[in-house]
Assembly symmetry: C2
Homo-oligomer: 216 residues x 2
DNA sequence: AAAAGATTGTGATTCTTTTCACAAACTCTG
DNA sequence: CAGAGTTTGTGAAAAGAATCACAATCTTTT
């Protein structure tokens, strides 16, 4: 997380992807130049935040006029490693897993789903577009063969821990986990939780005005 | 966000839900007492973090032995407003929307899906369990009638902004947005983005060793 | 070409969140 | 019940992140 001796916040990285998304849109509609204020406006962030985030990686702007959309887009693509294509596996092809498997939007982000696994014999062998669902037993060899780097875990909550262990055992280092459980994995493994109930509940907590509106 | 004069981090709230989830599991298996260290272990957080988070809301522990699982569970249920049931609407019943609509796990979190909307005439009228998909035109009256408080936005990215505006217009104050776009809404409206491509990409960024491993 | 205007890049400041560290409070053991 | 062992609760310190603020730099205007 260090560059030019400065530490780069995790959240900066996440926002860079947002800037890049916006710049790609701007480029499409032939907008050539944009200020940090405008880019901030469009991404619901402050101008200072935009400039500081970009500042970690270099100087991309021009005083008095702003940033060249095309150039900045290219720079971010480069910084974020969007030149590379990442191989993704989905484990657990149920409601959520099949929605993700059917999603075409990953392509445009350099995310390529190369394999899908399920424990249900009835599902094994079925095809979704060009992906054939494989038995969970084949996970290790397939991860190796297809060079799976990222994994999406969409199995029932009760199976999540054991399947996560199989993933780790198979050599996968990154897991996007949808099961509402805290996975216990070695610390070199990166797990990112997506807990949808929690997101909704957190929203509701603040809606309830528990955040200081009704309590002193 | 103020209690006892102290500011409560947003992230603390989110973690309280994690503690609660864990405590509920512990309760099920008849574990009566747990220390902050153990609870932290199980949730991948530090003991100090656990204690500080709980400390915002009162004193629940017993020196020398830890926290009474049942009591703390009840306290958190209360703090987090889990006594209340929240009414949720899903807008856009495609791949993702229908996965969410079919998900039974929301129930146990006090989240009740009370309505679903889609613009596609072919989908309107279809039933998912006990929810009949309604036309998007009915959104305003239904939100009012069914007291919708939270909404899940799963429409194509190009439609997200306009549908978000319809939601706001219908009186919804919280939106869980799955479309990869920065929504522009009044500031009293709470939007939480779930951008799955971005989550995967952020994982991959760190996998790429761009975080200081290959750069000085 | 000078003056007015716009916008960047970044050190300094402020605000937020996490971690530390330890007295106080409790439990357990023989 | 005394002493050893745990564990909490919480100020204080440290770390992390966002915001401020402004000199420097570029653009536009006249
Ligand atoms: N569907 C949702 O909207 C939703 C929302 C929030 C959270 N989640 C969570 O996401 C996860 C998946 O949810 P879902 O609704 O898709 O569930 P699902 O039951 O529809 O699908 C789970 C799939 O995993 C497969 N599976 C079971 N054990 C397996 C194993 N050992 N190895 C490989 N595959 C296995 C099942 O055969 C099934 O196809 C769950 O943990 C759930 O709690 C889902
Ligand atoms: N499916 C995924 O795995 C996935 C992953 C990441 C992000 N997303 C995002 O989530 C959103 C939904 O994805 P999806 O795969 O479910 O798409 P989808 O095309 O399967 O479903 C979209 C649904 O929205 C409906 N719709 C269109 N316009 C509407 C309107 N004006 N009002 C109401 N409903 C309308 C469509 O009829 C369709 O049923 C998209 O923005 C997508 O980018 C999806």
């Amino acid at each position: 997380m260090v560059m030019n001796g400065k530490k780069i916040p995790q959240s900066t990285i996440s926002r860079l992807f947002v800037y890049l998304r916006e710049l790609t849109e701007l480029d499409k509609i032939n907008i050539r130049t944009i200020s940090s204020a405008e880019l901030g406006e469009r991404t619901n962030l402050s101008d200072a935040q935009v400039r500081k985030d970009l500042g970690y990686f270099g100087q991309f702007g021009v005083s008095g006029s702003g940033y060249a959309v095309g150039e900045l887009k290219n720079a971010l693509n480069n910084i974020l490693g969007k030149d590379k294509i990442w191989n993704v596996a989905i484990v657990g092809v149920g409601h959520l897993g099949s929605a993700l498997l059917a999603y075409s939007g990953f392509d445009t982000h350099g995310l390529k789903i190369v394999a899908a696994f399920d424990a249900d014999e009835k599902k094994v062998g079925k095809k979704f577009l060009d992906i054939t669902i494989q038995s969970i037993e084949e996970i290790k060899q397939t991860v190796k063969k297809k060079k799976v780097e990222l994994s999406i875990l969409t199995v029932p909550v009760g199976k999540a821990q054991e399947v996560a262990e199989e993933l780790v055992n198979a050599g996968v280092e990154c897991i996007l986990n949808f099961a509402p459980v805290s996975l216990n994995v070695p610390e070199n493994i990166k797990v990112k939780d997506v807990d949808l109930s929690r997101e909704l509940e957190t929203l509701s907590y603040f809606l309830a005005g528990k955040n200081g509106n009704n309590k002193k």
